[in-house]
């Protein structure tokens, strides 16, 4: 429980840092830290496989590509946006927050969950669910990714 609160507070702090900082690379590093802390949270929730995959895919691959793009484009510092966008964004975020808060308040706090079986969150159980109950969504997602890759190749070819 103490570990959870430490991790939760740390993830909130880094999430705020993502949007509050002016330097883009600092924002990206804060995002990486947030993703890493989320992975540790998964580890504490008996889902080691999910945690490690979170590190490999998000912290290790996607964030590196984002950093790569930032370094290639090298935006020195983002100029201040017009005030209208700030207000619209803030209002939307506040509305979303109250929606979620209303939902969250209705959920009762679980005192102690049932003990999970040993195989919970292991590679076998994840593979079982993925390739039996969720075969169709899994395959559809892979086709979607393939379409995205082909699209990227086509766009890159056109620019030559």
């Amino acid at each position: 429980m103490i570990v959870f609160f430490i991790l939760a507070i740390a993830s909130i702090v880094f999430s705020v840092l993502i949007v509050a900082q002016r330097n883009v690379v600092h924002c990206a590093m804060a995002l990486a830290a947030t993703l890493f802390i989320l992975a540790v949270l998964f580890l504490t929730l008996d889902a080691p496989m999910l945690g490690i995959l979170q590190i490999i895919v998000y912290a290790g691959a996607i964030m590196i590509l984002i950093l790569f793009v930032i370094m290639l484009l090298n935006p020195a510092a983002i100029e201040a946006r017009p005030a209208a966008w700030w207000t619209i964004g803030s209002i939307a975020a506040a509305a979303l927050f109250f929606q979620f808060a209303a939902l969250l308040l209705r959920v009762p706090l679980p005192s102690a969950g049932p003990a999970v079986p040993d195989s919970f969150g292991g590679p076998e159980s994840i593979a079982q669910t993925l390739f039996t109950d969720f075969t169709l969504p899994f395959e559809v997602a892979s086709v979607l990714l393939l379409v995205a890759i082909i699209g990227a190749v086509v766009l890159a070819q056109r620019q030559r």
Binding site: V25, P48, I52, I55, A59, G60, M71, G122
Partner: protein, 365 residues
């Protein structure tokens, strides 16, 4: 509880201590071996009362003192925080990866079984890849925080190279995972203790020869050493991502590189060369295929196994140093072509063939 915790702490300390020490010794081996290969004398200037000790005084005493007492230079328009964070990010993944590499079988002391491995994760291989994927941050952040064109170029090259070779590395391991049917390094090493046709140890290199070549190539590329040192490329971009680093921070990059070499050697040993297995050595002694039996005490067996693991790791470290001083640097486009157009398809073919073979073998005939 306290006993268990202290056992884990002792194991973690021993592993980090050995990895860092081996990394330091490798620095000496590299300087002397490169001299040997290039017909030079090598480090021999620093001496205490005329004793240079084959350059040991130079590399293990003079160099560290120099590194630690040098001015820590941060570029004026660089980023102070990230410039300091980057070397830590470079050293951290190389050191923690060794936690899941088993360096021996169980050791039984006073009725208590001690697994000779710091952390026994059932997804150990995935953990290794997770940590390996984090090692890119050190380069990218260090390169950016230096505010230097050459280092930025090195960082961009490094990020592209490491992301590319991670894919080839991951795919080349899948063959091994299919063959042994586990993600647990310790279980994998145990499976390699069996014999094929009664005499050949079932090591990964015999079952997955192509997988071994692909993995070793990708692992060398991940350490960013010759022939894959395009991110550093002294003759093109001065020293790449660590051009603006000096003193202790540079030492951390340097130690991180050698720790990566040790980790790569440990991984190759664990996945393809039987880890701590000695051929024909079971828990009660040698059982030779001809029928001869040589029984040994359990403690002697454990010591032999740990020694075998250390020997294999040292051999692969030496092989990487030999490679570095034998091959010239690839051009950057050649690095990318090798990764994406040769290693990746070959790894896919390897996965396909292995899967088909396993399915055919499991089908009742």
């Amino acid at each position: 509880m306290i006993v268990d915790l202290s056992i884990v702490a002792v194991k973690a300390f021993i592993v980090i201590f050995m990895v860092l020490n081996l990394a330091g010794v490798l620095g000496w081996v590299e300087r002397k071996a490169s001299a040997l290969i290039q017909d030079r004398i090598g480090a021999n200037r620093a001496a205490i009362f005329g004793f240079a000790g084959m350059g040991l005084v130079n590399t293990l005493l003079a160099d560290p003192i120099k590194f630690l007492t040098k001015e820590d230079f941060i570029p004026a328009r660089g980023d102070r925080l990230l410039h300091t964070l980057a070397p830590c990010l470079a050293l951290f993944p190389a050191l923690v990866t060794f936690a899941v590499i088993p360096f021996g079988d169980v050791l039984i002391v006073g009725g208590r079984e001690i697994n000779l491995q710091v952390a026994n994760l059932n997804i150990g291989i995935l953990y290794i890849f997770g940590m390996a994927s984090l090692s890119v941050y050190g380069i990218v952040i260090g390169a950016w925080a230096s505010n230097n064109k050459f280092s930025l170029l090195g960082g961009v090259r490094g990020a592209a190279q490491m992301v590319s070779y991670e894919i080839a590395m991951g795919l080349s391991v899948i063959g091994v995972l299919i063959v042994y049917g586990t993600l647990e390094p310790q279980a994998m090493v145990r499976a390699q203790g069996e014999l094929l046709w009664g005499w050949l140890p079932a090591w990964g290199v015999f079952l997955q020869p192509l997988g071994f070549l692909l993995f070793f190539t990708a692992a060398v590329a991940e350490t960013k050493r010759l022939p894959f040192d395009a991110p550093e490329g002294e003759s093109e971009i001065v020293a790449g991502y660590h051009v603006e680093y000096s003193g202790g921070k540079f030492l951390m990059f340097f130690a991180g590189e050698f720790a990566e070499v040790v980790t790569a050697a440990g991984l190759v040993t664990t996945l393809f060369f039987g880890g701590w297995q000695v051929p024909y050595l079971l828990r009660d002694g040698f059982h030779f295929p001809g029928g001869g039996v040589l029984s040994l005490a359990p403690l002697a067996v454990t010591i032999l196994q740990v020694l075998a693991f250390a020997l294999k790791v040292v051999f692969f470290c030496w092989l990487q140093i030999l490679l570095r001083w034998t091959l010239p640097r690839f051009r950057y486009d050649q690095v990318m072509r090798l990764g994406w157009k040769m290693l990746l398809p070959a790894a896919l073919v390897n996965v396909f063939i292995t899967a088909v073979w396993i399915v055919l073998r499991q089908r009742p005939t």
